[in-house]
Homo-oligomer: 135 residues x 2
């Protein structure tokens, strides 16, 4: 991720360094607050404003994806260059986010794009339900 930003002529400050490294190591989406807390736990958190700025930057460069679950805060997760991606199920009991992927769903969306005849650049899918612990 660092390389992409460097290629775009951007500098490598402490905030970018830390947010990118944290996000690259996550299996799933984190909110700005979760990022701040995680970084503060390491002893060196950037200011909240910088975290938001870095996240915006990553989204602009397609290095991260914004995930909205409807709880009033945005979450962010690394986006793989391969285009490989997953979607989320949010547990209505505990709010936990669970990732999944499903080729059938992707196929259905592909067909749908053809049918609509419009250029579709992306899609978000969110399932709501009960996770194992809450069921």
């Amino acid at each position: 991720m660092h390389e992409v930003l460097a290629g775009a002529g951007l500098k490598r400050g402490g905030a970018r360094e830390r947010v990118i490294d944290l996000l690259a190591a996550q299996p799933c989406a984190l909110s700005a607050t979760e990022i701040e807390d995680a970084l503060r736990a390491t002893g060196r958190s950037p200011g909240r404003a910088s975290i938001y700025r870095v996240l915006d930057l990553l989204v602009e460069h397609d290095l991260a994806e914004r995930v909205e679950v409807g709880d009033g805060q945005a979450r962010f997760e690394r986006q793989h260059p391969s285009g490989e991606h997953h979607h989320h199920l949010v547990c209505e009991g505990c709010g936990r986010l669970i990732a999944f992927d499903d080729p059938g769903l992707e196929r259905a969306i592909g067909k749908l794009s053809d049918r609509l005849g419009m250029r579709i650049s992306g899609h978000d899918i969110l399932l709501r339900g009960a996770c194992e612990r809450c069921a």
Copy 2:
């Protein structure tokens, strides 16, 4: 919609009356602000707080659905008792919301629910792309 609320023992004040009637007449989702503006145009808008309260009430009673497009404001649209529903495509050019439905997509989600083995109570799907005018 009025009947459902009456059945739940709720009263019928001016704010509920107006918001429900407006929403029932819409083809697609409206934000709280759009609702307020539309009602103000008729000369009688409830207070903003009441609009939000009515919307929450409708969502709780499954009479309306919350639609999040990622622009920082929630939108609401009537939910049909039949369970019939559509999804949205948001134009990245002009922000316009376009409704569509697709049985193939619904089938794919049905199969996915079975595969995951979890109770899925609902799903949101959002496509991003360019509308006819912006393509």
